[in-house]
């Protein structure tokens, strides 16, 4: 099931979504990453981020609420410590980057231009940091500026990752008109769990986190369907609750070009390979 995305060959449509697979080293101990269509890094930020305090994981029916807070050791450490490992893999690496302003994004993109990574994904939709993409999207002018500047500099195809807590159709239009080559849909929508038995009944220190897993599948499918209706030719990395071959086919059916798996890796690191073997 080879797929061609903007001239890049993916040996199958399955990619690991940003986050749950870390930067690959740990996951590679469980599965052979080279069997994947692609691997997305955990979102890299310019400076290191310590992430949110525990708890970061709240189980819900058919899904999870996470509040990781983009823990990562920063862009320079990524280049030095993680990229050499990723370069060795025989799979397409997608670099997910997050930032607070146009300068940070541009610095990272410039440096990624000289690497082997195949696609750059701007994470403008992380639900778990107080400032960052999530708030950039609320400012349409800032969004335009960042995407325009990023696409000007980037020598790699540029994807923008959006969530559902925005006017999706309008934002998709804005980012595509300003030079994005594709969209990643969807990031985890904001969710809250209340545990009435606890002294502090609203779980998670920020009061909410991002919801992943099969519980968001109907929402994810509709986002892709709606965007694809307006932009029939756009390449989309679709994700949200994919845990089976049937799920993959459903995402392809509504118009995804590649299909990301996040939660599914947490259920069972072997799951993406089982699906690929079955496609």
């Amino acid at each position: 099931m080879e797929v061609d995305v903007l001239g890049i060959k993916f040996k199958n449509p399955i990619v690991i979504a940003s986050g749950p697979g870390g930067n690959g080293r740990e996951l590679n101990e469980f599965i052979d990453l080279s069997k994947l269509g692609g691997f997305t890094t955990k979102t890299i930020t310019f400076k290191p981020k310590i992430g949110n305090p525990p708890p970061r994981i709240i189980n819900i029916d058919n899904g999870v609420i996470n509040s990781i807070g983009l823990e990562n050791s920063g862009f320079d450490s990524f280049l030095n410590d993680d990229l050499p490992f990723l370069n060795e893999l025989n799979t397409n690496v997608i670099a997910s980057i997050g930032g607070y302003n146009v300068e940070e994004f541009c610095y990272m993109i410039k440096n990624l231009n000289n690497t082997n990574i195949k696609i750059i994904e701007l994470n403008l939709s992380c639900p778990n940091v107080d400032k960052g993409g999530d708030t950039i999207l609320n400012d349409l002018e800032e969004t335009k500026k960042i995407v325009k500047q990023a696409s000007k500099i980037s020598q790699k195809p540029l994807f923008v990752k959006l969530g559902i807590e925005c006017n999706l159709e309008e934002l998709a239009k804005i980012v595509l008109e300003n030079g994005a080559d594709g969209l990643t849909l969807i990031n985890a929508p904001k969710g809250t769990k209340v545990n009435l038995d606890k002294n502090n009944p609203v779980e998670l220190s920020r009061g909410f986190g991002g919801v992943s897993g099969p519980i968001i599948k109907p929402l994810a499918l509709s986002c892709i369907y709606r965007v694809k209706k307006i932009f029939p030719d756009v390449s989309i990395i679709g994700m949200g609750g994919v845990v089976s071959k049937a799920d993959v086919l459903e995402f392809l059916k509504v118009g995804a070009t590649l299909v990301g798996i996040g939660y599914g890796v947490m259920m069972d690191p072997q799951l993406p390979i089982n699906i690929i073997d079955d496609l």
């Binding site: 870390g22 305090p53 970061r56 823990e71 220190s205 690191p269």
Partner: protein
């Protein structure tokens, strides 16, 4: 994940011992845990420490606290479930092997310590597998348990009255944050001779998702991969 079969289940009120038959030998070590899930579940699997592994049999000691533990408690002989593991660093890989240890477990926290005492009796000075209620004895009949309701005190109160037990020895603790805090509040100088096994809500359980952080002197570590056992004076349990 691997399919395993329920071979024995001993339930008493909110506790049960679950023994499953596996298709292979996992060679798990005390302190390690498995992620368990039900067939056809779309939920994440959940972590449980090994209480014993013998050939193709794995045993867990589980407390019913919510919907998942409720559901596995109602599995019957011959029913299947899914497991993956073992995960986490074996206790034996972390501790100072020149010392002997008091093993202090609270509730299900006793599970890995029960396994430890069986595998490494030479490293054990004494054990306090503590539970509040008497009834637990009926499903762990071969073990000497510390029952708060019988002793009329908590294990930490007992140790205050028997401080000689702690002399020249380390401690390995596994239980609620309340238990750990009460122990170190009472015996602050034990901190640099002790190890704690931590619990944290887990996502992947296998070091991928950054879901189970603990602040340590060497930065943020993952309980599932770098722990669950840590040196007591190297972790900050108050990060919030």
């Amino acid at each position: 994940m691997e399919l395993v079969k329920v071979i024995e289940k001993k339930v008493i009120k909110d506790y049960f011992v679950l023994t499953v038959e596996t298709n292979k030998t996992f060679n798990s070590k005390p302190g390690q845990f498995f992620m368990l899930n039900l067939l056809d579940s779309l939920n994440l699997p959940k972590p449980f420490s090994v209480m014993d592994e013998k050939g193709n049999y794995l045993s867990f000691l589980i407390k019913i606290v919510g919907s998942f533990t409720e559901k596995i408690s109602s599995l019957k002989y011959g029913d299947s479930l899914l497991i993956r593991g073992p995960y986490g660093v074996p206790i034996i890989n972390k501790i100072d092997l020149t010392k002997k240890y008091i093993l202090l477990g609270g509730g299900c926290g006793s599970a890995p310590l029960i396994y430890f005492s069986k595998e490494y009796p030479q490293l054990v000075k004494d054990t306090l597998f503590s539970f509040k209620e008497v009834y637990i004895q009926s499903i762990l009949p071969k073990l000497t348990l510390f029952i708060d309701d019988i002793m009329g005190m908590t294990p930490v109160e007992f140790l205050s009255q028997n401080q000689e037990k702690l002399e020249n020895s380390g401690a390995i603790l596994c239980g609620s944050k309340g238990l750990l805090n009460s122990f170190f509040d009472t015996f602050p100088n034990m901190k640099n001779r002790s190890y704690v096994s931590l619990e944290e809500n887990m996502g992947c359980g296998s070091g991928l998702c950054k879901g189970c952080p603990v602040q340590t002197v060497a930065g943020v570590k993952m309980v599932c991969k770098d722990g669950p056992i840590f040196k007591a004076n190297e972790v900050n349990l108050e990060w919030k």
